[in-house]
Amino acid sequence: MSMLKQNRQYLREKIISSREDGRSHTEYRPITIKTGVLDKAEGSARVTIGKSDVLVGVKMDIGTPFPDSPKEGILMVNSEFSAIASPDFENGPPREDSIELSRVIDRGIRESHTIDVGKLCIEEGEKVWMVFADINILNYDGNLIDAAGIATIAALMTANIPKIEKDGTINRDDESKSALPVTEIPVPVSAGLINGIIVVDMTKNEEKCADAVMTITTKKDGNFCAMQKAGPSALSEEQILNIAELSQKESKKIRSMIEKAVKANKN
């Protein structure tokens, strides 16, 4: 459903002084992170940012490694914009936006070497663990990349590797399962440009008015590990550097929330 042109124009002008929900331009909506929300999944998390709601489940299976990395496990990030979440979403094969979302999150995790894939080898060249992170959008009210990114890393951090029995079958119920080796906490922070103003954590209405969006994923040490500019408009060098600074600041706060939520699950 597209937004009325008049509404769009109004919001674009109004954003200079205030946002529709009264937040400052650099303020996130309340974030909630719950881990261990599913029993059948190896790891799971549900994250809300305002009304946006994302559920991620991690499943693991035994697969064949890629020929160029015979000793490494495989990570696959996939996302589904289910029609349940918004009248804008349709069922069917993944569309551009959902492909972009999962690829941006995948890059953040992969490029920061978050998962120690070397520890996921079962039999060199033959058998490795494949880690599937499936992102499901439950409700769409903007900023899905950040919500999905937080949920994905939280789900991975709480995931356990199932036990392999002597006959080669997978036992997912055994108590002696070990934790998935996760060494980094990459956090994506997205900011948009609306009528010349940089705005973090955009709502759905704000996203519909935005000229461009920039997602920057930051690691524990403050370095960047992934970036993606989206949206039809250009950004100036100055605007990009401002967003980079914002992302560094916000990602620190969000990372400590993730750590807290993961700890709560382990206790």
Partner: protein
Amino acid sequence: MASNVPKKYEKLIVNGKRLDGRKLDELRPTKIEVGIIPSADGSAYVEVGKTKVMAAVHGPKEMFPRHMMNEDRAVLNVRYAMLPFSTSDRIRPGPSRRSNEISKVARHALESVIFLEEYPTMGIDLTLDVIQADAGTRATAITAGAVALAHAGIPMKGLVAATAMGKIDGKLAVDLNGPEDNFGDTDMPFAMVSTNKDITLLQMDGDFTPDEFKKALSMAKKAIEPIFEEQRKALLRYHE
């Protein structure tokens, strides 16, 4: 980063020079040709080192599918593809997740410079075919796409050129080639508008300190200027 680095690529910078002899801020040899596809409204061929891309514009024309039509402006429809024979392992034809994403970012990289409002309800199809890939295919495709659009006579605010910045052996380098992309640390595709120097494509994966990122941006901005020059020359040559 691949874990098994062949011996000859263990070091990507030797005696201050890259393996192909370039300096850190030097582009690969770039060749641009305009009007290579006679039946298209606009077309271009761009070669950057061993990366070769063909671009063709069809339109502005009636928008198809009809439900994607926009009453206020034309719709730019970009389709990026790596042809099956463009890499050492054959690529399965048809759209992939990667090509879908690149088509999207390429569209965003180009549409802000086009006066799309001049052609309400119309569609502009831009096809970007990579015929040989040796890193920097999306950047080369965007450079080619801008020239093809200009050749089609579509009014634009400026040209767009792109390159990939990166970090190899811990040092910032411009326009990564295949091995540098495969065995380097960081890759940052980047596109800029010739007139106001705004940035229309920015992606990154790998590792950058905030300081390196700042330097990478200014290095990319500088390095890209010769590409604008080649684009202009190619367009002028065609009209001579």
